[in-house]
């Protein structure tokens, strides 16, 4: 039994905007898989479909998403039993999706809602054991001292780690991370990826993480699934993803995926559209200021 199995998944937005087109794959227990692709390639849609947050196309045939042997959705309808499997799926979002005005601890306690009795949830009555578990989760991701602060007072990286703590308290067996590091600085990105890696290795939690920077995939995930225009174009070891191979897969848009990677500068050998302004600005600066800039970007 696979941890996640996706069959013939198609999702259309509006009339003809195919976000995903006939995607299938299986992910085994305890794997850590990267999902790469340029923006608009369908990564987020795929993760939200697996989490059962949105529905696949109605008449897309026998399309089906199973997580841990339970059906999340099939034939374009979120399964009735999906609410039972949902606590087993932790989701981590690009924008963290914490409730700003609640304390960090309360945000993490939310992770228990899927498991405790309905009425206890309504009144926010949590046991001492549950609170301690939340504190442990916060300690694990390294932000226990912030427990009493409002979530909004945390830095982006800390908020993302709080979101991971919430998923840990949820005791999910599968963790889906949708661009978890896209709005973080490099140092925070590294901490978040390392936290994900640790829980994958120590707890055997299956992790699927969508990224748009291949170097993170290569460094942290043994396996990568690559999407382009809603279709799976590669599924295999991340180590095979050399800049040359990426260029083969994505053509000129491969540059978007290897931005920020040290190897890309020499490897891709192409003009980088999104960085043009930056480059121009750098060229326009007086030479004396360049070292300062280098320090700032390092």
């Amino acid at each position: 039994m696979a941890a996640i199995s996706v069959n013939g998944l198609t999702k259309t937005f509006g009339k003809s905007n195919k976000a995903l087109n006939g995607v299938d794959f299986e992910i085994g227990h305890g794997e850590m898989v990267a999902l790469i692709g340029a923006s608009g390639s369908g990564k987020s849609t795929l993760i939200r479909l697996i989490a059962g947050l949105i529905e696949a196309d109605r008449k897309s045939g026998p399309c089906c998403i199973d997580v841990l042997g339970q059906t999340v959705q099939s034939g374009g309808r979120v399964d009735r039993a999906a609410s039972r499997v949902r606590p087993d799926i932790g989701v981590i979002f690009q924008q963290f999706n914490l409730v700003d005005r609640l304390s960090v601890l309360s945000n993490v306690m939310v992770g228990t809602l899927g498991r405790i009795s309905r009425w206890r949830g309504y009144f926010g009555i949590f046991t001492r054991a549950e609170r301690l578990m939340a504190m442990q989760a916060l300690d694990r991701v390294g932000i226990a001292p912030t427990a009493r602060q409002r979530a909004s007072t945390l830095s982006g990286g800390q908020q993302q780690r709080a979101a991971i703590a919430r998923a840990l308290v949820q005791q999910s067996k599968v963790m889906l991370a949708d661009e978890p590091i896209a709005s973080l600085d490099p140092a925070s990105s590294k901490r978040v990826m390392e936290t994900l890696k640790t829980i994958n290795e120590e707890d055997g939690i299956t992790v699927v993480v969508s990224l748009h920077q291949v170097d993170y995939a290569v460094r942290y995930c043994p396996r990568t699934i690559a999407l382009r225009d809603g279709q799976k174009i590669y599924d295999g070891p991340s180590s095979a993803l050399t800049p040359e191979f990426l260029h083969e897969l994505y053509g000129s848009s491969s540059d978007e995926l290897i931005l920020g990677s040290a190897t890309s500068v020499s490897g891709a050998g192409k003009t980088r559209d999104r960085d043009d302004d930056h480059e121009a600005a750098r060229a326009a600066r007086p030479p004396a200021r360049t070292p300062e800039l280098a320090v700032a970007t390092a």
Binding site: L53, F96, N97, V99, V110, G121, A163, A167, Q170
Partner: protein
Amino acid sequence: MTQLAAHPRTVELPKSDVKRTTGKLVMWALVAIALMLSWEGADMRPMALYNDAANMASFIDGFFPPDFYDWPTVAREMVITLQIAIWGTALSILCSIPFGILSSENMVPWWVWQPVRRLMDAFRAINEIVFAMLFVVAVGLGPFAGVLALWIHTTGVLAKLFSEAVEAIDPHPVEGIKSTGADKIQQIIFGVIPQVMPLWISYSLYRFESNVRSATVLGIVGAGGIGMILWEQIRGFNYAGTAATMIVIVVSVTLIDIVSQRLRKMVT
């Protein structure tokens, strides 16, 4: 000649936009037409102010000096007025929470928010005084009729304001809570309410202020409070007493407004 020294070129003014200018003219013309058409119906007789000036002077003269002959009764009734406002507002806040959520487009399907909103429109469309008259018949003379009247009308107002706050929330945190397996009500309690709380508190305080003002006239139709005294004094041509009662109302309402405004600033 005014010219920026360092800027060598002369720059022409941008061409005036004909479309916008005519648009403005049409708008002002419409306002003028509306005012003219309403002149007759509103029985506008500005000369009456001048012709009856002597009458008015003696009328106003009757108000001075204000006569606080029965101040303990006036004070007691003012307190009752406040108490009517407190209960009317409290009950309507309680009802506006579910009604507000049930009339938010982003929380429930259209076949729920449509009828709930129309019901709230009806609550809001009818003035407190009208409800007060009805409730006086239903539950008898006295402050309870006033509480019920404020309750219904304010629920209509607050539910609309509450739902506007709910419709403006950030959906991401709610999605985050949904993803943990929380049910719809838990998503609202943990994801929606914390986001709208400051606005809800602010709106509620504001409605409390308005309700104190509204409660001062409920007594006129027998629904309790200081309005009753006011009505009796005016009918008895006791203008000195009326002036005293009005001063009590002005001072209390102003105090409440100031305190409530302070509180509202604190929460938002």
